[in-house]
Subunit: 207 residues, 2 copies
DNA sequence: GAAAGAAATGAATGGAAATTCAATTCTTGT
DNA sequence: ACAAGAATTGAATTTCCATTCATTTCTTTC
């Protein structure tokens, strides 16, 4: 009995684990899931390949956890916006715009998070995160209906529709190679307008 | 000179090619692109692996052609609906409902065609098909605006939004385990309602 | 029915990338 | 300083599949 895991070691271990997760984010943000190999991630984290497997059971698990972590952060941001003061309609608009703008600013990463081919574990994690986003939107839609600003509707389906419209609207532009920084604001504005109209509107002709 | 490719042989060859393409559809409809290996497809087509490579240069090419073929058929169907008699709004509703119903009836295949990660060649082919779908919707939206039934809007983005809302609305139910055959009509109706409202509406509070 | 050629076969090959593990380096407590 | 045990390393191994190709089977023509 001459070795014991001290707090310092524990801390370093945790730190290394975090560095690996962070490295996934960095690498995926540069080359996407397709180009993100375990060796590359290990290099980026400054550890050997084998070390990765000391902290995560498999590539799929590692990448899934990295996605969950990152998506979780985004959900926090959007949730914060959704909880701010004001009418539900305004908060919904802000939430959508925030989501869109952040995606546009890190297009490669956003594309990977939203739609890029990956391991089954990653796909599963993606579904979960997607639902978490939908829940935030669903809450806002329900609020809007309660406040009388939105017509009664299937809030769950509408939230899914919003996510779909949002991601689809982003994916086209995101798939382009060049940085379309100048149009970021405009794109975000248009997408927000469409999404907002989708839930907040009444038939055009009638009334 | 003792052999010549007769019409009969030519026909059989073509037939075999088609059977392989059809097999891709079948296999992908069961296990998606992820599970669709060349060996599996060959088996489903009743040919040897090597034969596949006599007809197609690579897996990616084969799968891309299969996707294009299948999507082309769907586009034809939706286009036919879009070209029928009547107001743009009604035609758009019909087109969306048709798309949704057909997707619901073959969920795994639909998901693969619409969104499942695959070889680069397949992704490229999908982009083309997706744009074709979007074009149909975009045309209908433009018609609706011209007819005064829809408010002026970015028809291109709106079309993308529709596709997104449609597919996202389908994916949730599609991810469930059981066959929700009984609810197919209801789901299609709800999705159609949401999509139609998204493009055909004016702000709820005003006016 | 035999020769010439084409098409089909499917086991073997190859390559790419995940995963392992024997050897090495680092930490701790005495 | 040293022994006991952990953590780390990265080259070697394994795995998974697309792709190939020597061999076999089928078609045609004479």
């Amino acid at each position: 009995m001459a070795y014991r895991r001290t707090d310092r070691v524990e801390e370093q271990l945790q730190d290394k684990r975090n560095r690996i997760l962070q490295a996934v984010r960095t690498v995926v943000g540069e080359v996407g899931f397709r180009g993100a190999q375990v060796v590359t991630v290990a290099e980026a984290a400054g550890v050997a390949t084998g070390t990765v497997y000391r902290h995560f059971p498999s590539k799929g698990d590692l990448f899934a956890e990295a996605l969950t972590l990152n998506a979780g952060h985004e959900i926090e941001v959007v949730t914060a916006v959704a909880r701010s003061e004001g009418a539900a309609m305004a908060r919904l608009a802000d939430a959508i715009r925030t989501f869109a703008l952040r995606a546009i600013r890190a297009p490669r990463l956003a594309w990977a998070m939203i739609a890029e081919p990956a391991e089954p574990e990653v796909d599963a994690a993606r579904l979960v995160s997607r639902r978490a986003f939908a829940d935030v939107f669903e809450g806002l839609i329900a609020d809007g209906i309660a406040e009388g600003d939105f017509p009664p509707q299937n809030a769950r389906l509408a939230a899914a529709g919003l996510i779909g419209a949002l991601t689809e609207g982003l994916i086209g532009p995101l798939a382009q190679d060049a940085d379309s920084q100048p149009d970021a604001e405009a794109l975000a504005r248009d997408i927000t307008a469409f999404c907002l109209q989708a839930v907040s509107a009444r038939p055009f002709k009638e009334s």
